[in-house]
């Protein structure tokens, strides 16, 4: 009861949802939790504080490795922006698992282990993100912003990623859970440099 438990990596996410918050209250929480490793979201008066677990982080890293293998092998000019704050002052804020700027397009990757109350697509629409990839329950779902709305797409609509095979990517993400090195090799083999 009064003894601290040993600190081991928690397997699952810990998500707290705090409703009825103002933008100013969100900024106080954000400042209080700066550099703590949590990820913060704000939208429509709801603050979410996410502490990603081991499973979440593993899949985030696997997906990032594969995307980055493709970008590097194919010499795609990219700015890797990681979990950088995406913010529209007074309105919306989010810290994705991974993010990239690829030839004028913003791409976000989110691993969903525990869903919160904030509708992530509405949030990212408010933040003007061109394409969002969700990994959830072994499936990859892609959304591209078209005429101000997200539409689910089978392939990336970012020109530099058009040749990326989503079915193979999914297979390799799953393979990566047990064998990360092999997954990257398999993925590279399926996407030869022209």
């Amino acid at each position: 009861m009064v003894q601290a438990p040993a600190k081991t990596a928690i397997p699952t996410d810990n998500l707290q949802i705090h409703p009825h918050r103002t933008w100013e209250q969100f900024k106080l929480i954000q400042k209080g939790l700066e550099r703590s490793g949590v990820r913060l979201f704000f939208f429509h008066g709801t603050v979410e504080i996410l502490m990603p677990g081991r499973y979440h982080e593993i899949f985030k890293k696997i997906i990032a490795s594969l995307i980055e293998a493709f970008l590097l092998d194919h010499d795609v000019a990219t700015t890797p922006t990681g979990s950088m704050d995406q913010e529209v002052q007074g309105l919306a804020a989010g810290q994705p698992d991974e993010s990239y700027e690829i030839g004028g397009f913003k791409l976000l990757v989110e691993v969903i282990v525990t869903s919160g109350d904030i509708n992530k697509l509405d949030l990212y629409k408010a933040l003007g993100i061109h394409e969002v990839w969700f990994w959830e329950d072994g499936l990859l779902t892609l959304y591209h912003l078209m005429d101000g709305h997200y539409q689910q797409v089978d392939r990336s609509q970012i020109p530099a990623l058009a040749r990326l095979d989503i079915a193979i990517l999914r297979q390799c993400i799953l393979e990566g859970e047990t064998n990360w090195n092999q997954a990257v090799k398999t993925f590279r083999l399926a996407h030869p440099v022209p």
Binding site: H20, E34, I49
Partner: protein, 201 residues
């Protein structure tokens, strides 16, 4: 994936977040950012911030214990100040929001339901806050700690004079009973204490 699940599930555990390496100033920012949220309890001690969102079971036991203690005190005409989850704070050092708290005479009593343990040593925290007596309810049992010569000692009975005749074994039984029936629990508590002192009976 992007839709919020319906908010109906009740058998969820406490949600506790532990944020280490925080300063007192960072804690105060978090506290201000989360102000007026009744379902959130904040703790700060030795650089760790804990944000606790108690679950239903947690709240249920808190209320049962509160009802029984208050019944005991009110029956005996003891005037007490129910301070609930009010902040206990020692600026720059420690801050806590117990599940329940009382000022009984000159004594401060804090009650904590432990469903999920954090990393903050609660007894050290309450010592820093100068709370005279702390009761922990965990896994169906009650542990009492009283501050004696600057250290907590586990005690079998409350050392707060107005609670000295409260039979802790009976209280535990009534708390467990209270999970199914509050009225029966109060009745059993009253019956067990009826002959023991000059009460209203």
């Amino acid at each position: 994936m992007v839709q919020a699940p319906p908010k109906a599930s009740i058998h969820i555990p406490d949600n506790l977040q532990i944020h280490p390496a925080r300063t007192w100033e960072q804690f105060k920012l978090i506290q201000k950012g989360l102000e007026d949220l009744s379902g959130v309890h904040l703790f700060f001690f030795q650089g760790t911030v804990e944000i606790l969102m108690p679950c239903r079971e947690h709240e249920l036991f808190k209320k049962i214990i509160a009802i029984l203690i208050e019944t005991f005190l009110l029956d005996r005409n003891v005037d007490f100040i129910p301070t609930g989850s009010a902040d206990y704070e020692s600026v720059g050092v420690a801050s806590a929001q117990p599940d329940e708290s009382y000022e009984i005479g000159d004594h401060k009593l804090a009650i904590e339901i432990t469903v999920t343990s954090g990393t903050i040593q609660k007894l050290e925290l309450y010592k820093a806050l100068g709370v005279h007596e702390v009761w922990f309810w965990e896994d169906g049992t009650l542990q009492l700690h009283h501050l004696i010569d600057g250290n907590y000692q586990q005690v079998d009975q409350s050392q707060i004079p107005d609670l000295a005749t409260l039979n802790v074994a009976v209280l535990i039984r009534c708390i467990l009973m209270g999970e199914t029936s509050r009225t029966q629990a109060i009745e059993a508590l009253r019956l067990a204490h009826a002959g023991h002192d000059k009460s209203i009976y």
